[in-house]
Amino acid sequence: MAMPSIHFLANPARFQRFSARILPWLGALTALLWASGLYMALLVAPPDYQQGETVRIMFVHVPAAWWSMAAYALLAGLGAALLVWRHPLAALMARAVAPVGAAYALVCLVSGSFWGRPMWGTWWVWDARLTSMLLLFFLYLGHIALSRAFDDSERGDRAAAVLALVGVVNLPVIKFSVDWWNTLHQPASVMKLDGPAIHPSILTPLLVMAAAYLALLVFLVLLRTETEIGRRRLETAALTGR
């Protein structure tokens, strides 16, 4: 039942030829997106009538939140590919994705607290979204720690894959419980910025920054997957004494 698209990348050598070809182009695209995104976010976008300039932090905060959650879903998908279809590359790609997802979650947390400071006067606010992001960050740390906790790295990959599958099912429940806990303890917080009714002058920079984050995510994942393939090749070579 191997789906054609996954099967195409199944063979590490074929994957390396594919990634070697597209990495330079993807790198250039990422740099371009980041340059234009930052330019639009800092110079072009108007200040918000309420928050003034601090709204600009949203351009680095919100995309980090989106893609750190998407990366965790990808991690779970790779986990399923490894456990269900024994896809050889999924384990290595999962090792590549986890640190990037964790970094995105960290960026989201830090930028979130910088955003909260002028508005709420404190560095950290137990806001529902920030708290869920903090827990997602811990799930990432758990995944990374578990995948490296065994002498046999394949065992680590499979154990982390099981954790990712349970984690991705549990994540909405965690989010619900935190939102629910938040409404119990705090009146609805003022941060309502990500509603659809965002003014285009704010929406376009946000979308460009989101594209920049995505391009960087894909670039880093392909890059790190190549490294993991190399590492695994070194490991097996050492094991079989070649």
Partner: protein
């Protein structure tokens, strides 16, 4: 230029937020590039890299 830097008085929050985001992601990028280079060097030393394997 002054207005741009002070960001309507909130510069002290906007610049660090951007700075940390770029530093963290940039750092991850550099670290990943260096890790790949190190692994490829080791592969070449052991004659395991792609060109050597295709020659065999």
């Amino acid at each position: 230029m002054g207005g741009f830097l002070s960001m309507g008085g909130h510069g002290a929050y906007i610049w660090p937020a951007y700075g940390i985001a770029v530093a963290a992601l940039g750092g991850l990028l550099i670290w990943s590039l260096r890790a790949r280079a190190k692994v490829q060097r080791e592969l070449q030393d052991r004659g395991l890299d792609r060109r050597a394997r295709e020659r065999r």
